[in-house]
Amino acid sequence: MQGKGVSSGIAIGTIKYCAQTTRTVEKRQVTDFPAEIVRFESARALAAAQLGELAVSTAQKLGKENSLLFEIHQMMLEDTDYRESVTQIIQGQQVCAEYAVQETAGQFKEMFASMDDEYMKERAADVQDVSRRVIALLTGIGEESLLGDKPVILAAEDFSPSETAQFDRDKVLALLTSTGSGNSHTAIFARTMGIPAVIGVGGALTPDCDGLFAVLDGETGTVVLNPDEVTLAEYRKKAAEQRQREELLLAYRGKKGVSRSGKEINIYANIGSPEDVPAVLKNDAEGVGLFRSEFLYLEQSDFPGEDTQYNAYKAVLESMVGKRVVIRTLDIGADKQADYFGLAHEENPALGLRAVRICLTRPDIFKTQLRALCRASVHGKLAIMIPMITSVNEVRQVKSILKDVQDELDVAGIRYSDSIELGIMVETPAAAIISDLLAEEVDFFSIGTNDLTQYTLAIDRQNHAIEPFCDTHHDAILRLIATVVRNAHAKGLWVGICGELAGDLSLMKFYLDVGVDELSVAPPLVLGLRKAVCDSE
């Protein structure tokens, strides 16, 4: 079966399918209802106490941000409306406590489900989750222990937060669900805990899968049931390689990327949202070399406000505690479209109105972003990077807009750092060729090899038919990189590479020879790249 790989890693083992515990409870009549109310109250109090403990242990394991949910769950059980509803049902209908809890849960779920707000609708699941806990205590069935002695691949329709929080990392090989999205609790927890996970495999995953032997690849999203020997051997090899690599690489945490002959390259990480920062820290990147700000624009139905942006930038700057964070300004257009920009259809979007061209055409959008960036700059070491530059004039226009923004902030008495670095992405052949002139204007260059390759070789990177013609090591590309580095160093600028090519280990010698200062790659590649630097001459 095929799903979406949301947390990488290979798992080989038996599937344990956790049937959704939506067991309906029996409607049992009781005569001694005061006793039944006491029964409910003690189960409720115990459940609330359990949630309190869960909040504390989660805070210790995963930080306070992740524990608030359980405090909210605890509040739900302590809510007087909830308690009164249960008590009234017990009393009024003379029924058992578990039935009354189920009825109450139904009513509150209904309240959320009827709300005109997608987010609030989903909170029905929280009511369900807490009520199930009380019912389990009342019926004495107890939450079926999800875990036995042997580590398993845990499968379910989806997992509730209180379930995922109780998982013992050593007993869970992987998580597998039939529903869920990349932003579901399951996906977030899996990534935070470093458990491989595949979600949304759909109807192929049924309770009948329980007990089946399987291999799961959390990167590709592939799950093979009852794998044959060949497949198994292949995945075992992949898993062993991965494990070996990880262990080997841990030794490179806290080290610097210095080659045997003493040349240093800083290894930074690329991120797409503040949620990626834990992975950056885990892999000990020395900074963020590319924070794509697009996520702020792409996941929206309207332009993101200044505060929304400020909070996202601030979150990343603060978590990186003083390490450099390069934030790329708006890079919408071409393959990244957002409807509300109202961009006209273009024959050649890759050569069209995109990135800085939008910013200079509609400075209001750009100003909001620059203002948010400047305000956030006091929380760390900020570098602003402008994409798709082709001329000196464009850089000057950007600088003039930035100056306007800072003047406005001065007037309003709002602070910003006086050591913000301004740089450009060198991703057009034009920028590379005039990099000597551009170097006069900015503090750093970051070479975006994906677009640089596409524009230099005239190869659409999304067209698979011409892949054979795409030589990413083409001399033209390597010469341009060498030129850019030389011109930058002549003016005292630092140069990084943030495209796919940065992670290409076969080019390490070249990078060291030309003197690239920084390579920025996806967080899981950081340590491998640092090792490659250390192993080089």
Partner: protein, 85 residues
């Protein structure tokens, strides 16, 4: 009794997280604390009540604090709203 008004600026409105924080903050005080948006009223110490408001960005919220510690409570809540919502 002290009343003040606050317009929600948080993009998500009073979603679960701030609702939880608000209940926690409000529960520190003895005063009765209620929120009113349009015709809907909520008890700030009850999580379901607060979430049931479904307060959104831009909603004008009227906060009423009444009780012996109303002045401390309303001051604390004013700053709470400013910081969290």
């Amino acid at each position: 009794m002290i009343e003040f008004e606050y317009t929600i600026t948080d993009k998500l409105g009073i979603h679960a997280r701030p609702a939880g924080l608000l209940v926690r903050e409000a529960s520190k005080y003895n005063s009765d604390i209620s929120l009113k948006i349009g015709e809907k009223t909520a008890d700030a110490k009850k999580i379901f009540s607060v979430m049931g408001l479904a307060a959104k960005q831009g909603d004008r919220t009227q906060i009423t604090v009444s009780g012996e510690d109303e002045s401390t409570a309303s001051e604390a809540l004013q700053s709470f709203f400013g910081v969290n919502l």
